[in-house]
Amino acid sequence: MTWTEYFVIIIGVLIFVVIFQIAKASEYVSVLKGEKKAFQQNNRINAFLMLVFLVLGLAAAWWCNKLLYKKTLLWLPSASEHGEKIDTMMWITIAITGIVFFVTQILLFWFAYKYQATEKRKAHYYPHNNKLELLWTAVPAIALTVLVSFGLYYWYKITGDAPKDAMEVEITGHQFGWEYRYPGKDGVLGRQHYRLTDAAKGNPLGQDWNDVANHDDLHPSELHLVVDKPVKLIIRSQDVIHDVGLPHFRLKMDAVPGTPTTMWFTPKHTTAKMKELTGNENFVYEISCDQMCGSGHYSMKGTIVVETQEEFDKWINSQKPQYVTAHPDGAVAVAATVAPAAADSVKAAAGTGPKSEH
């Protein structure tokens, strides 16, 4: 340890000792002064502090809001249509709970201050009042019903079926990164089986090459989406549970091994537009893993680029199908020889392991 560290410890201990001595002394003083007098004095101090805490606390809350509001996403338009609904809901909830918060906290600390013990007053014997209790059962119940109704209305919209014209993209999590797969020209994601996975042979996603639909599937290193065009993510995990977290779109969905999940949304702003809106040159849509997945969880990042249709077309046309990458010497020949056995090969693979297959 360094000298400064010793120093910090010594200071800390000293402060402890001083506080303790003061506390001890005040106990002796109270015995000398008389318990009652000491009690009254302490009671006044603590009651007054209740009021001070209330006032300073409210001021601090305001100050905190001033400092932090711009660091949240609340002031930014949401980047998806679903997100806009969630934002609306958020504001309604903030308003309702905010009112309740202020009223109850003010009453609490105000009562504590106002009804501090004095010789003059006697406590008011008030054991119950059925009308009041009925009132404050009914009012929260009604307020919550309103919130639930709004909430569920949006919930069904968000979790409902994706529009027919939605673009499908698959996103797969593993320790610690994301992989993306586009269906290619045929618009169909080819069949997969986890036992076919073999990164060394250019097949990190376990695509079944016997399924022709796989031959044009793309496997780029970034997720590109088209602005104003709905997209449906098919979410998978290869090992442990991950979560596709999209803070700017206000969305997230778990990636569960063995059980693919889905999530759809419509991006509203291109990345370029978001740079403008946020005033941040370096803005990127980040995918954060939101489910604890091991020691690299905090670094499990993906990137989304939202762009116009033209930009997207240009980008996607520059991508090479994974099938080609996996079969550098004559992709066509392999496909031709194995294709007839396509249906059984998955089963066979499941039994004997993928190594014997290819």
Partner: protein
């Protein structure tokens, strides 16, 4: 329903005739302080074990907050202490996650469940219902020693080569099922599971005792509706535990099977580090259902006892009856019932059926209603009271403030639509630390300060109590209030370092402030610990039987009661516990018969 059953051969009936303060002739040091069967001593054992755990768990949070507050800095002394876990003076990710996992496990289970229920159920149930001890003092003792066993196993997991469990306190598989997925999923995970299994045994033994004692051993006149709210709260708590812990237990057993017997309850379609695993057909989501079926009731197992403590201490110090006694019981009943029906609100984004999700939204927001009723009742209890700010009372006010703040954010996360954005962000951290962590600690402190004179025959130092309260309250808000903002920004929880993220890296300074406040608040808790132990030996002595002028039965026992609690007959009860300020009288103990000209309410 009288209770002149001598619960323990010899001991209780002996005490009846021996009017002195606790030394029994055939009690040795071992039977009195170690393998004690006296509920009061077992309560103290739970409390002190809980305090030790709280210090360990709190220290862990200080360590991981150092990493979050100072991600760039290096602290060579960390390496001196922790070796390769803090290589080059920097807490390593694996260590960070182990710390967080242990912090959560320790605080939720060992401190706020065993330390809290174990202390106050043992202390207050026999005292306040007028019983000489628990229904089975022996099982009660076992309950404590199973807790010690669980503690030793968990503690030992800190010292194994690969470290303790590190997948979060919820230990979701497959991460927790596969040793190759993380260091913490190796032997540390087995120790975690075995420890928690022992913990469940301890809880069940305790819970059975609490329920049977409350139902069967009340003194004459102590009808159910005359019981103090503490006892009602402890009753519901014990029932919740009895019904939900076994489900958790089975979840853990299946996890152990998956780990060691090659079963596939939670595993399917896994490629781990290039290895293709044979498991197919299982579902990791099944584990989450089993876990949260306990996990949600568990949060009420933590908060209900403190609701009871706070109601009691608040009423005594406001010198007023608790407002709406029956409504308080009814709302606790509603909470206990609904607590079983909301578990899947922790799983809104696991891909579950949206319709099922909406059912859980409804039930979840329903549970906010009884919570709201309780808050309004506490506020009305303060209204037109004559409030004495003992340290216990200060913590009651703090409890209500915290419970309001955290309860309101429950309404955000309970609404699945909002939870899509807020789930697994710092918003959730803020929500449950405020509503459960800090509130429960506040309630527990209220209880400790209030019943310390009964436990040790001495007072704790008041001035230290005031300092403890105010600094804790301020730190709690400084730490957790700004976390809501981080949550609104979508900042994920359980991240070791945010500096690589364009979306979250602007919270560095804030994280530093939070870490600083966390350290201050930890030090102030040490002040409490010091006050506690110092006062056991050197505190001002209690000189009257009933120092707070309270109505309940524990204050009719001698200042230092022996085994059996009352030297003579157990007193008879004639009224409820809350006749404060009635008919101009400051207080009327439960033992006082109702006089003819007394008003009714």
């Amino acid at each position: 329903m009288s209770n002149e059953i001598a619960v323990q051969h010899g001991v209780a009936s002996h005490e009846v005739h021996e009017h002195h303060d606790g030394h029994h002739h055939h009690e040795t040091f071992i039977t009195k302080y170690v393998f004690s069967q006296d509920h009061k001593m077992i309560a103290k054992q739970f409390l002190i074990t809980g305090i030790i755990w709280a210090i360990i768990g709190g220290l862990m949070s200080v360590l991981f907050r150092i990493q979050l507050g100072y991600p760039e800095a290096t602290f060579p002394w960390l390496e001196d202490i922790f070796g390769h876990w803090a290589k080059d003076g920097k807490i390593q990710p694996e260590f960070f996650y182990a710390l967080g996992t242990m912090h959560g496990t320790i605080l939720v289970f060992f401190v706020l469940t065993a330390g809290l229920s174990g202390t106050f159920a043992n202390l207050l149930i026999p005292y306040q219902i007028g019983a000489r001890d628990m229904a089975s003092p022996f099982m009660n003792m076992l309950s404590y020693w199973f807790f010690v066993l669980a503690s030793i196993i968990l503690l030992s997991s800190l010292f194994v080569q690969t470290g303790p469990a590190s997948g979060g306190w919820t230990v979701y598989p497959p991460l927790s099922a596969l040793g190759d997925a993380s260091q913490g999923s190796k032997i540390g995970m087995d120790l975690w599971l075995v420890s928690l299994a022992m913990f469940v045994v301890s809880s069940l033994l305790g819970g059975l005792n609490y329920v049977s004692t409350i139902l069967n051993m009340r003194t004459k006149g102590m009808t159910m509706t005359r019981m103090p709210l503490t006892i009602w709260a402890l009753l519901f708590t014990a029932i919740l535990g009895l019904l939900s812990f076994p489900v958790l237990f089975s979840g853990f057993i299946l996890l152990l099977f998956d780990r060691h017997l090659g079963t596939s309850f939670y595993l399917s379609d896994i490629v781990l580090g290039g290895n293709i695993l044979p498991n197919e057909g299982g579902s990791p989501i099944l584990y989450q259902h089993l876990f949260w079926f306990l996990g949600h009731p568990e949060v009420y197992i933590i908060i209900l006892p403190t609701m009871g403590l706070v109601s009691e201490v608040m009423s005594i110090n406001a010198r007023k009856p608790i407002f709406g006694y029956m409504a308080m019981i009814a709302s606790m009943f509603a909470i206990a019932l609904l607590a079983f029906l909301v578990w899947a609100h922790h799983m809104f984004v696991t891909g579950m059926n949206p319709f099922l999700g909406s059912v859980f939204v409804l039930l979840t927001l329903l549970i906010a209603v009884p919570s709201a009723i309780k808050v309004f009742n506490w506020l009305t209890t303060l209204w037109r009271g004559n409030i004495r700010f003992t340290p216990g009372m200060l913590f009651c006010v703090g409890f209500v403030s915290m419970f309001i703040s955290g309860g309101l954010t429950g309404i955000f996360v309970g609404n699945s639509t909002l939870d899509i954005h807020l789930h697994d962000t710092y918003f959730v951290i803020a929500h449950f630390h405020i509503v459960m962590g800090v509130s429960a600690f506040m309630g527990m402190f209220a209880g400790v300060y209030h019943w310390f004179p009964k436990m040790y025959g001495r007072y704790m130092n008041n001035t230290l109590g005031y300092i403890h309260f105010w600094v804790t309250l301020i730190c709690a808000y400084v730490i957790f209030w700004p976390m809501h903002y981080e949550g609104f920004a979508g900042m994920p929880r359980r991240y070791y370092d945010y500096s690589g993220w364009e979306s979250f890296k602007h919270f560095v300074e804030l994280n530093r402030v939070i870490s600083f406040a966390a350290i201050v608040s930890f030090l102030v808790q040490l002040l409490f610990v010091f006050n506690f132990f110092y006062s056991i030996f050197k505190g001002r002595k209690v000189t009257t039987l009933n120092p707070w002028n309270a109505n309940t039965l524990e204050w009719t026992t001698p200042i230092n009661p022996g085994h059996g609690n009352w030297p003579g007959e157990i007193p008879e009860v004639h009224r409820w516990a809350y006749d404060y300020g009635k008919d101009g009288k400051d207080f009327i103990p439960q033992t006082e018969p109702v006089s003819k000209d007394e008003s009714t309410h």
